[in-house]
């Protein structure tokens, strides 16, 4: 049968390649709608990576919220605005901007390579594998009130509703406010007619 430990690296390579590739295409593509589609692809592959890491809940959320809701909204807006393709000419014509961007790319690549190289040379003797699906969650510091939940979703849920209850409630109000705000901003001025 398929050995999990052998498949994981390959899976990761494929998924990360797809992610990076489609991300690049998002940014470099001239057609906005094509950019949106590639972004959806990016989100899907990221969800795959989350699943690979055993963060099931988040992976599901990624697909549902990002790829499902947000990108749909973006595509709607693109269609509404009826955008044309834009040209790349003016972007690269500004020599200052071009220089700075190239410098940023070079600097970042350098930093990246340096950090990767540094960790590779360190001592590889101690290896810690984290694949446990069970998660023990403590309600409070006292020993009696321990609650053990099993599974990633349950763990996230327990933490959200016990430790992070207040932020959770506030986020729900935030979403309400965002909805109202979006409606008001995007509404046509009905008063001004006549």
């Amino acid at each position: 049968m398929l050995n999990l430990t052998e498949i994981q690296p390959i899976l990761f390579m494929i998924l990360s390649a797809v992610t990076v590739g489609s991300a690049l295409l998002v940014v470099l593509n001239k057609n906005p709608v094509a950019s949106a589609i590639f972004l959806v692809l990016t989100f899907f592959s990221l969800a795959g990576i989350y699943a690979l890491m055993n963060a099931i809940f988040i992976a599901t959320m990624q697909v549902l919220v990002y790829a499902g809701a947000i990108m749909v909204l973006v595509v709607f807006v693109l269609m509404l605005l009826n955008l044309r393709e834009e040209t790349h000419q003016e972007i690269w014509s500004n020599p200052t901007k071009k220089t700075v961007i190239v410098l940023i790319v070079i600097a970042y690549s350098f930093l990246l390579l340096v950090s990767l190289k540094a960790t590779k040379d360190s001592d590889p003797t101690v290896i810690t594998n984290i694949t446990s699906p069970n998660y023990e969650y403590k309600l409070s510091d006292s020993a009696e009130s321990k609650v053990t939940v099993t599974g990633n979703t349950a763990a996230v849920g327990a933490s959200t509703f016990i430790d992070y209850l207040l932020p959770f409630e506030i986020i729900s109000i935030l979403l309400l406010v965002a909805v109202i705000g979006a409606v008001i901003i995007a509404k046509k001025d009905a008063v001004k007619k006549g």
């Binding site: 700075v100 940023i104 600097a107 970042y108 930093l111």
Partner: protein, 648 residues
Amino acid sequence: MLEYFPLVVLLPLIGFLVNGIHYRKMPNTAAAIIGTSAVLIPFFITLGSLTAYHPMSNNAPHLFTLLPWIHAGAFQVDFAYQVDQLSLYMTLIITGIGSLIHIYSAGYMHGDGGFNRFFAYLNLFIFSMLNLVLADNLVLMFLGWEGVGVCSYLLIGFDYHKTSAANAGMKAFITNRIGDVGFAVGIILTYWYLGSVKYVDIMAAMPAAIPFKEIINYVALAFFIGAIGKSAQIPLYVWLPDAMAGPTPVSALIHAATMVTAGVFMIARLNPIFLAADITSNYIAITGAVTAFFAATIGLFQTDIKKVLAYSTVSQLGYMFLAMGVGAYEAGMFHLMTHAFFKALMFLGSGSVIHAMHHEQDMRNMGNLKGYMKITWITFMIGTLAISGIPPFSGFFSKDLILEKAFGHHGIGHVIWAIGLAGAFCTAFYMFRLVFLTFYGKERIDHHVKEHLHESPWTITLPLVILAIGAAGAGLIQMPHLFFGGTHFLTDYFKPIFAPGREIVEGAWKITAEPHHMSESTELILLVVSICVALTGIILSYFVFQIKQSVPPSDEGFKGFPKVVYNKYYVDEIYEATIIKPLIRMSDWLSASVDKALIDGLVVGVGKFFMHISEIFRKIQTGIVGDYALSIVIGTIAILVVLLYGGF
């Protein structure tokens, strides 16, 4: 009565505030009554306090404080006042003659648009002058000193539309200020060496202060420079004749009776310092004598009635300083009082003449006024006899005392006496010249003026009469032996003021200042010589002006030496050319180069510099969001680099 004394200082101030704040709406009569009572009530309070104080037997001053002022560590100055024989003497003169002049002004300034303002300024002047004489410390005296200078400026330039008056006011103030520098230096030196500015402390500290004794001549000179400015001695007398452009009551009050005597008062107050400073005192005596003679010569040829009186004032002040210079402080104060009476009388009398003649001041257009203005004529004659030194009028006794003390002074005494005597001759001559040209002789009056010519109202003549009584009888308090055994009321009165100083100087510091004691025969000879000189002057004047009916020519008619004297020896022109013009040129140059170019350039340059920098920096705000995003990224990378490699 002494507990009411603070009112003496406060009532004139209140009068000034009431008249000054309401000067537009107040009716003239009310303003006059407020102004006059603000000075008259203090006069009566002072009279009452005089008896309560028992001056003939009281050795200690009565001190009271009204307000705290400067408390800066060891330097403590309050609005504190000292009532003693000297300050009571001066206060009586100031409030007494001051209230008479207030009554006079009610009549003289009648119909003037600035009537209320005039009374407000007069009250402010009285307040400042009272601060000057009643102060118990040098700083408050200096405040009063400056205050009377300001009031002099305000009152000389009262008719500020008249250019000559405005310029004269400025000239007075600026010339005074030149002298005030000396006064301030004197205060600083006194405080530095003696540790206090209060008179009682100065008297107490002087015996032991040997370093102060070393520089005593400089200290006295510094104070005297202040007196030169304020009391119009050579070389700072030039403001006084010009000050005649102000209204006549102002000339009477300020430039005859009170402000110009501040210098003499200051020397009397600081008498130990001046007694010990023998070199400076000699200089003071010489200055006084020369000024007395010099001004008298100018007075010989003047044609404006007030100018004659102005130069006469300068001359008489010279006599007072002559007395203070030879150490005869009682004589100087005596002459101060008699001069206040007869000079104020003559100024007010000339004001009466000018008022009746519809503001004609040139004596060449007067004559035979005795027929029209009897009271003015008689009182003016009394004043003239007093100033010429004819017994039994007051001026004789004071001037004779001065000349006698001068003669007895060691060293230069005889020379000073001779100069003083020459000045007395000229004084008698030109004062009677004034009387003959104005009140006697042929009428040269313009007939428009003659139609309305009549004696002045009672508000003008009543003060004249009262002052005439004073000018005639005030001399009786200090008469030499030869007159009914002599009275020495004044020397006894002033003993607590001047005796401690003599004790310090002769006792502790071992400087002898007492003049030689003179025999009675010398005194008699000096007295007879004085009277003869005065009579000679009068007779000569009578001959020239009454018998020969000589009238001064028109302005172009003066030729030769008389022309130089008539033009005041061109002193003003010399000052203008040597001092004033170079100063103006220098200040113009400084204003253009240092002030405009350098300082303004620096200040404006700072502003311009920042504007240039902001021009450069505002180009960053392009309004394009992409540029701002770029700056965020650049900043983030910079922070990352610093965190990674900065060792934090």
